[in-house]
């Protein structure tokens, strides 16, 4: 008997019918990924853990409805955690408002130590450059390149048009490329 695994969409369908095991599998497939995505957006490990958990709870408590949803489960779960993360960033910014000028460089925004220490030099520099990207560009680069979502899924997750995603992806990649040129030895 062929050893096949149910697709996300099959599991989601079962989950909508009330299947606990199906949801459990979806959790296993995506929790770590959405945490990583949220972490790259929020730069806050605890917040990312909380947001990833909250995203799954919300997915369970308010299952996506509508026959014409037209998006994959992958794009759905990333959408939820992206929205949660963006809201968290705004909430955090409001808390800091007046107390701290800007979010960049604050302790909670420091890139994860394990990421800095475990990567090679170029990887470290690239990770740092990614951290410095504007949030929207960082979101799109992360979703498309690091998380491997399709271009369409990135549009669904971010709610942006194809051209907007295309433009921001290009801008983000170009910023990263230019930021790495000195380390690559280029002097242009």
């Amino acid at each position: 008997m062929a050893h096949t695994h149910p697709s996300d969409e099959e599991l989601e369908a079962r989950w909508k019918q009330g299947s606990t095991p199906a949801f459990s599998l979806l959790f296993e497939r995506y929790y770590a990924r959405v945490f990583a995505f949220s972490y790259r957006i929020t730069h806050d490990r605890h917040a990312a853990e909380d947001l990833a958990q909250r995203a799954f709870l919300n997915l369970y408590k308010k299952p996506p409805g509508g026959e014409g949803r037209g998006s994959t489960f992958k794009s759905l779960v990333f959408t939820v955690v992206r929205n949660e993360s963006v809201n968290h960033i705004k909430w955090r910014a409001r808390r800091r408002e007046g107390a701290i000028e800007g979010a960049a460089g604050t302790p909670t925004d420091a890139p994860p130590p394990d990421v800095r220490l475990d990567g090679k030099e170029r990887g470290q520099e690239l990770g740092a450059a990614l951290e410095r990207l504007p949030q929207e560009e960082r979101e799109i680069v992360t979703l498309r390149v690091i998380e491997g979502l399709t271009f369409r899924e990135v549009c669904e997750v971010t709610g942006l048009s194809r051209d907007a995603v295309r433009w921001r992806l290009a801008k983000g990649l170009e910023t990263l490329r230019m930021g790495l040129i000195p380390q690559s030895g280029g002097e242009s």
Binding site: M1, H3, T4, H5, P6, E10, L11, Q17, G18, S19, T20, P21, A22, F23, S24, L25, E28, Y31, A32, F35, A36, R45, H46, A48, A52, Q53, R54, F56, L57, N58, Y60, K61, K62, P63, P64, R69, L76, N83, E84, N87, K90, W91, D114, V115, D118, R122, G123, L126, G127, L130, V141, V145, I146, F151, G159, W167, L169, A170, L173, R177
Partner: protein, 438 residues
């Protein structure tokens, strides 16, 4: 350089978006322009480097907590357990408006099972002896089904067993039974049969789930604040969460414990319709003691079981009562003062207490209320010890965080899972809502 394609076109090229004349024009240009050709190559290398970046991973305990929270939500939605006529609801037992069970104790119960932490695995410092072992598939009990592939039939067949985490004294049960698999870190390729890992916890979830009514959480499709009409919902929720954490000792609604501070570090616990029954008190040795309300808390450093006056029942009687329901178990526990104790500064003490009894749902609520209170107190030198001790009891492992801000954040996270907050919101919305049997 004005003829050079913009970076968007290079991305289009990498993405395969260009066709026909556009593609030919771009390729022709790249063949002639060294700068653009190098840029394209750099993009390709950059793409690969980004893919190879180290991936941040959540802490195992956070992963397990999230998994447990989801399971608790499912358990809360599952059809009610078949009521045992001999087990009448009692005062102080957890109740749920809308037919749901107290989320926080459930969360703790589910967490205990799903942490896969039979207490024998705890090292003496209160932490799992080998956290990785808990995620090892070898620890999962043998699965009944022979077919490793989760077929559609298997997916249809939810386990019929009574959800174990919903039983009283979950830690005791967790220690007695083989734990279900926590969410493994392994990729989907290693997925076992579905019912293998859910045989101990799952229940049928309601297909028509109405949890979260009242706007407590973002729905799947909701956009960030500025993109939704009712964007203030999340903000209100966050504000309410903070208020809850600061004002919990007052105005508890029916069924929730309320606290009366009788001494600087002692609280008399009262539940609606029930006279004050016991007091939680911190001893000078940093031990949290639970004593009958009429007895004087043992303020000394050696408060042990039986010190506080009330005679302790026979052990076999206590064991018998323990299995007969939380209400009677509470009676038994009140008769055994100082049974609930934690000495975070002394390795193993908290573990022993937990292993001996575990937290009942009512006790979990009590401790959560005390913890909320503590979070609103000045952060003096003993504040960290008190919060660490309470939090350790609630989460089931020893919390060692020293930084006050981080500790407070940990505690707030533990106290504010979505389900717990939903419950508080529901109580606020309908404080007099009748308890409904399900």
């Amino acid at each position: 350089m004005s003829d050079c394609p913009r970076s968007e076109l290079l991305v289009d090229l990498l993405e395969g978006f260009l066709e026909g004349d556009e593609l030919r024009a771009a390729e022709d240009h790249l063949a002639e322009c060294e700068a653009c050709s190098e840029a394209r190559d750099a993009y390709r290398q950059l793409w690969g480097d980004l893919e190879a970046l180290p991936t941040p991973t959540p802490r195992p305990e956070a992963r397990q907590a999230a998994y447990a929270a989801v399971l608790a939500a499912m358990a809360a939605d599952a059809p009610a357990e078949v009521p045992d006529p001999a087990e009448a609801p009692a005062e102080g037992a957890p109740r749920r408006a809308g037919g749901r069970v107290v989320p926080w104790p459930l969360l703790a119960a589910a967490a205990c099972l799903l942490l896969a932490l039979p207490l024998s695995q705890f090292a003496f410092d209160g932490r799992p002896a080998d956290s990785s072992a808990r995620l090892d598939r070898a620890d999962v009990p043998a699965a009944p089904p022979a077919d490793p592939a989760p077929s559609a039939k298997q997916l249809d067949q939810e386990p019929e067993e009574e959800p174990a985490p919903l039983q009283r004294d979950p830690r005791r049960r967790a220690a007695a039974e083989s734990p279900p698999a926590p969410p493994p870190d392994a990729a989907a390729e290693a997925e076992p049969p579905l019912d293998e890992r859910t045989q101990n916890f799952s229940g049928e979830a309601d297909a028509e789930d109405d949890l979260g009514a009242g706007g407590a959480g973002l729905s799947a499709g909701e956009a960030p604040e500025e993109e939704v009409a009712d964007a203030d919902g999340a903000e209100t929720k966050e504000a309410l969460r903070q208020r809850e954490l600061r004002s919990a000792p007052e105005g508890q609604s029916s069924g929730a414990p309320s606290l009366a501070k009788t001494e600087p570090t002692a609280w008399q616990v009262t539940r609606a319709g029930d006279p004050a029954r016991y007091t939680y008190a911190w001893s000078e040795a940093g031990r949290l003691e639970k004593v009958p309300a009429r007895a004087t808390p043992n303020r000394g450093s050696q408060g042990r079981r039986g010190d506080a006056g009330a005679p302790a029942p026979k052990a076999d009687a206590a064991d018998a009562l323990r299995d007969e329901g939380s209400a009677r178990r509470e009676v038994a526990r009140v008769a055994e003062p100082a049974k609930l104790e934690l000495t975070p500064a002394q390795p193993g003490a908290g573990r022993v207490a937990l292993e001996a009894d575990g937290l009942s749902p009512a006790e979990a609520e009590d401790l959560a209320a005390i913890l909320r209170f503590e979070l609103g107190q000045p952060q003096d030198s003993a504040w960290g010890d008190r919060v660490r001790g309470l939090l350790s009891l609630l989460v089931g492992y020893e919390v060692r965080e020293q930084d006050p801000a981080a500790l407070e954040r940990e505690a707030q996270r533990a106290l504010s899972p979505e389900l717990f907050m939903d419950e508080q919101l529901e109580r606020k919305a309908a404080p007099d809502a009748p308890v409904q049997a399900r």
